[in-house]
């Protein structure tokens, strides 16, 4: 479980990443996803919200490549538009989690002692609430919306991130370069931000990458439960939730967004695993 604090060098790192089949597949998928996110709206054949009164719930046709939903909206266009929301929201959620958790973890691990003990008990307690449940409770307070779902997931992720950040901090903290910094009288802020934080990046990035996949699914699940993005947003989880009433009339309405979510999750899972392997010196 221990993640090394390996050295980080971009070209070397890319070559390590590309040495692994899952890294290659992950990167290819990531590029596809990036295109979808950046160019999706431009590539979409229709406006994602335009109703096509006469073509409701049709299967794939030349006109509507992936078919239409219950309002006659083009599923392909909605997926392409939705990529931006779905992917970016998940990234944000993870970023929030990594940011809050990282800060707490580094502080707790660095300060140590009683403060650490108290923080960690709290974090343990929060971790005892499963992410979905936690997010559910937070959303209940904030009200259902895409942004709130992001915040909720971010908060729900932060205890786990804090744990990882803390354990890395603890191991980095015992390392001699931190000892050297302490011994020469550096300020705690400098030590945390310049000595420890950069060395936490690798494990935190690995964890965050895998968490993105998790965030996508969580976000989609929240939307599915009606607690995430709200109609008419072309968010993928919401699309499934809305389409469920029509799944027997046009199963494509579920299959496409379902596949899309799975694709993104696979991308980040593959990348996370590849990163873990690439940054793991054991595999040299």
């Amino acid at each position: 479980m221990c993640i090394s604090i390996g050295v980080f060098n971009m070209t070397d790192f890319m070559s390590r990443l590309l040495r692994q089949p899952h890294g290659v597949v992950g990167l290819i998928l990531l590029v596809v996803l990036a295109i979808e996110v950046i160019l999706g709206p431009a590539l979409a054949p229709y406006d994602p919200e335009t109703f096509h009164y006469s073509s409701r719930l049709v299967g794939p046709t030349p006109e509507f490549l992936l078919g239409t939903d219950q309002f006659g909206r083009d599923i392909l266009s909605r997926l392409l538009w939705g990529a931006r929301t779905t992917v970016l929201l998940s990234l944000f959620a993870t970023l929030i989690g990594a940011g809050i958790g990282g800060a707490i973890g580094i502080l707790s691990g660095y300060l140590g002692g009683r403060i650490d003990e108290v923080i960690m008990r709290l974090v343990d307690a929060l971790m005892a609430i499963p992410s979905l449940l936690f997010a559910l409770l937070i959303i209940t307070v904030l009200g259902p919306s895409g942004t709130n779902a992001v915040v909720a997931i971010g908060i729900a992720f932060s205890p786990g991130m804090a744990r990882i950040a803390r354990s890395v901090t603890l191991s980095v903290r015992t390392s001699d370069y931190v000892a050297a910094a302490v011994a020469r009288g550096e300020s705690p802020l400098w030590i945390m931000s310049r000595e420890i934080a950069p060395n936490m990046l690798a494990p935190v990035i690995i964890e965050a990458t895998i968490r993105v996949a998790f965030a996508i699914m969580l976000l989609a699940t929240l939307s599915f439960l009606g607690l995430g993005s709200q109609p008419p947003a072309p968010e993928w989880g919401l699309m499934i939730s809305e389409a469920r009433a029509f799944m027997f009339r046009n199963a494509w309405t579920i299959v496409w967004p379902g596949l899309s979510i799975a694709m993104v999750a696979i991308t980040f899972n593959l990348l996370g695993d590849a990163l873990r392997d690439a940054l793991n010196p054991k595999n040299d």
């Binding site: 604090i5 390996g6 050295v7 980080f8 060098n9 070559s15 040495r19 140590g112 002692g113 009683r114 003990e117 008990r121 390392s175 001699d176 370069y177 000892a179 050297a180 910094a181 302490v182 011994a183 020469r184 009288g185 550096e186 310049r194 000595e195 950069p198 060395n199 990046l201």
Partner: protein, 688 residues
């Protein structure tokens, strides 16, 4: 030594696939091990010695690109064996012992279970026979209480006991050959010698053949009949033990020996020789001698090659010109002037009085329950004076509290007792102001861990310069360049990152960082332990140069007595958190000794031909450090224990001449009456 050979390697070579192409790890290896013979294989890290052992076991790790040549066990062609046929031979006809006994035993199985599996597999014994045989084997390696020992899990026994068990396991099926891969490197010196004794003894009794791999020439000298020196995947020299050490022929072997601090060279301070350069790139073909780039005698023909291992009355050497250069001295480019000592200043720079370091783990639960947390007494009541310009060596086995003391001195651990710097009392870590921190610097053992991998060398060096600017004005870049120059590194290193540097270069950066603060004292915590001998030599030479130029004092912590004798003015010996002896460093070989010092000296490997140490062997492992010892810390293992007084009363400090004192219950006379550890006996070589 019989004429039959147990193992033969014919022109063996192996390459691993890497991104840059195949890396030739082993090249044209021709070796044999006779029946009942122990072949020592020495080389620095990266020379391919472990790969050789794994190749023999047919368990190469990594991507094998090419494999050539033959490996024969008797007349069995090991190199072509696979699957069940191979499994019938492994463990039965060849066994292997690894460096880390902890790693090679399954943590979830009892020791007995390891034996059971092996015996059931190869010797088809029934359960009661297995029990008997396990018992016999454990007894054979002198393990106590064999019945309960078999029921223990690996973590429940000490490192030495584990290695004994692993050795017993290797002998379990009466193999023809045992491969040892650095079997003592992970152990403390006093434990390591007992393991070596054990193996020597067992080898004699069973007549097993062995390949004994080590980076430590001293260990190989102790144990091997013949010694092969490997450099960058090629055998440089093979000879009878005595021959090799008495008259090494290959320039590499000679340089290697010259880089090692000698045990018995009393008093006089000769510089150590370091080998310039580093291992050659083996992804490209090297037509000539692969040592040529680092060899001070190399000529053009050396680089053109081909170079072959040439036999000459059982002494093979891979240098056609060895005879021409044999009488030319091995030298160093670094013109260290040794022997010039600086004046030791009075009064002391740093003064410790009753200094203790107690480590307790914070435990919320224990506090809630109102219980005292467990406290480890890492350092107990240490008195020590350190003078300006002096090098004080601190020696002791792992876990004796050396590092805790070092950390307390730089404010990384809270301490109890009195600490004075320049007569200024420092009551606690909180009172260590920036002036104290500037004056006392520390260098750690592992430069990989002490240099932040995310910071450039320039950044690393700039920090102390910014924190302690001193009177020195001028551009930061200039200051960094000067520092790099000071430690013999080129200025362009400022923009590099630690991982781009070699181990020795990294340690130089760490030294430069310490120097940046212009300290009065540098604490060197095992700073050469992770380095190869030749690199260690260059670091030690650098430290001496620096001391001469700046008058800085060193607290030099190490477990290597030979090194201390070379570098230190005074030596403090530490055992279980207490300093048991302080003595001047020259004359270290002469009595009186504190009994622990004596055992430590006896365990140090000896390279000098014709020098035989007196054997003193310690039993058991150091006692627990929970709570302060009432009596002598060494009481439980002391071969010269008097009686219960050692357990119950703190031993007195007995003063001898010139700042030499010993903490022991023995009286002065009996302490003085011990013979010296080393006696020159030309016939003492163990192989006959």
């Amino acid at each position: 030594m019989g004429t039959q050979t147990t193992l033969t390697l014919k022109n063996y070579g192996v390459s691993y696939g890497t991104d840059k192409g195949p890396l030739k790890v082993l090249d044209a290896i021709n070796l044999h091990i006779g029946k009942g013979e122990v072949l020592g294989l020495v080389g620095e890290s990266g020379s391919g010695k472990s790969t050789l052992a794994l190749a023999i076991m047919r368990a190469l790790r990594g991507r094998v690109a090419h494999e050539t040549g033959q490996i024969l066990l008797g007349d069995v062609a090991l190199h072509s064996l696979q699957g069940p046929a191979l499994n019938r031979i492994r463990g039965k006809r060849i066994a292997m012992v690894f460096q880390d006994p902890g790693g090679s035993l399954n943590p979830t199985l009892t020791l007995g279970e390891h034996f059971r599996q092996t015996l059931a597999r190869h010797r088809q014994l029934n359960p009661s026979e297995i029990r008997q045989e396990t018992d016999r084997l454990l007894k054979m390696v002198d393990l106590p209480d064999t019945q309960t020992m078999a029921l223990k899990y690996p973590h429940e026994v000490s490192g030495g006991e584990k290695q004994r068990a692993v050795i017993a396991l290797a002998f379990a099926c009466d193999p023809e050959l045992i491969l040892f891969d650095e079997p003592t490197s992970a152990l403390d010196a006093t434990t390591a010698v007992t393991i070596l004794d054990l193996f020597r003894d067992l080898q004699k009794r069973t007549g097993v053949s062995a390949l004994f791999i080590s980076h430590d020439l001293g260990v190989v000298r102790e144990i091997a009949h013949r010694v092969a020196v490997i450099y960058a995947g090629r055998i440089a020299e093979v000879a009878e033990n005595r021959q090799l050490f008495a008259q090494p022929r290959h320039p590499y072997t000679r340089s290697l020996l010259a880089s090692l601090p000698k045990a018995a060279t009393d008093g006089e301070q000769t510089p150590l020789i370091s080998i310039p350069g580093s291992l050659p790139d083996r992804t490209v073909a090297i037509p000539g001698c692969n040592f040529a780039e680092r060899c001070q005698f190399a000529t053009d023909p050396c680089r053109r090659g081909p170079i072959e291992l040439a036999q000459d009355f059982g002494h093979a050497v891979a240098c056609p010109y060895w005879q021409t250069v044999l009488y030319q001295a091995i030298g160093s480019d670094e013109n260290s002037q040794m022997g010039v000592r600086l004046e030791i200043s009075e009064p002391p720079l740093l003064s410790l009085n009753n200094l203790s370091v107690h480590i307790s783990r914070p435990d919320l639960f224990a506090r809630l329950m109102g219980r005292q947390p467990k406290v480890i007494h890492a350092v107990n009541d240490v008195d020590l004076d350190l003078h300006g310009g002096e090098t004080l060596g601190l020696v002791g086995e792992s876990g004796c509290g050396k590092s805790s003391l070092a950390k307390a001195l730089v404010g990384l651990r809270p301490f109890l007792g009195h600490l004075e710097l320049d007569g200024q009392p420092i009551p606690s870590v909180a009172q260590m102001d920036s002036s104290y921190r500037q004056k006392v610097q520390i260098i750690f053992q592992n430069p990989d861990l002490s240099l932040n991998p995310r910071q450039s060398i320039g950044t690393i060096l700039s920090r102390p310069l910014k924190l302690y600017p001193g009177q020195d004005t001028g551009a930061m870049d200039d200051k960094i360049n000067r520092l790099l120059q000071r430690v013999n590194l080129p200025p362009e290193f400022a923009t590099r990152y630690p991982h781009e540097l070699s181990g020795g270069e990294k340690q130089r950066v760490a030294i430069a960082r310490a120097l940046a603060a212009k300290p009065d004292l540098i604490i060197c915590d095992e700073i050469t332990s992770g380095l190869d001998a030749s690199v260690q030599a260059s670091i030690v030479n650098l430290l001496r140069d620096v001391q001469r130029a700046t008058g800085v004092a060193y607290l030099f912590i190490t477990h290597d007595l030979n090194l201390l004798r070379h570098i230190a003015d005074r030596v403090a010996v530490m055992y279980l958190g207490e300093i048991v002896e302080i003595r001047p460093a020259h004359k270290i070989g002469l009595p009186p000794y504190q009994p622990y010092t004596e055992a430590l000296l006896s365990s140090a490997p000896v390279l000098d031909p014709g020098l035989e140490p007196r054997r003193i062997r310690l039993q058991g492992a150091p006692a627990s450090r929970l709570g302060a010892a009432k009596g002598c810390p060494f009481e439980s293992r002391c071969p010269r224990r008097i009686d219960d007084i050692c357990l119950s009363e703190r031993p007195p400090r007995i003063h001898f001449d010139r700042g030499h004192w010993i903490q022991c219950h023995l009286d002065q006379r009996s302490l003085r009456s011990v013979p010296p550890i080393w006696t020159a006996t030309p016939t003492s070589l163990n192989n006959d």
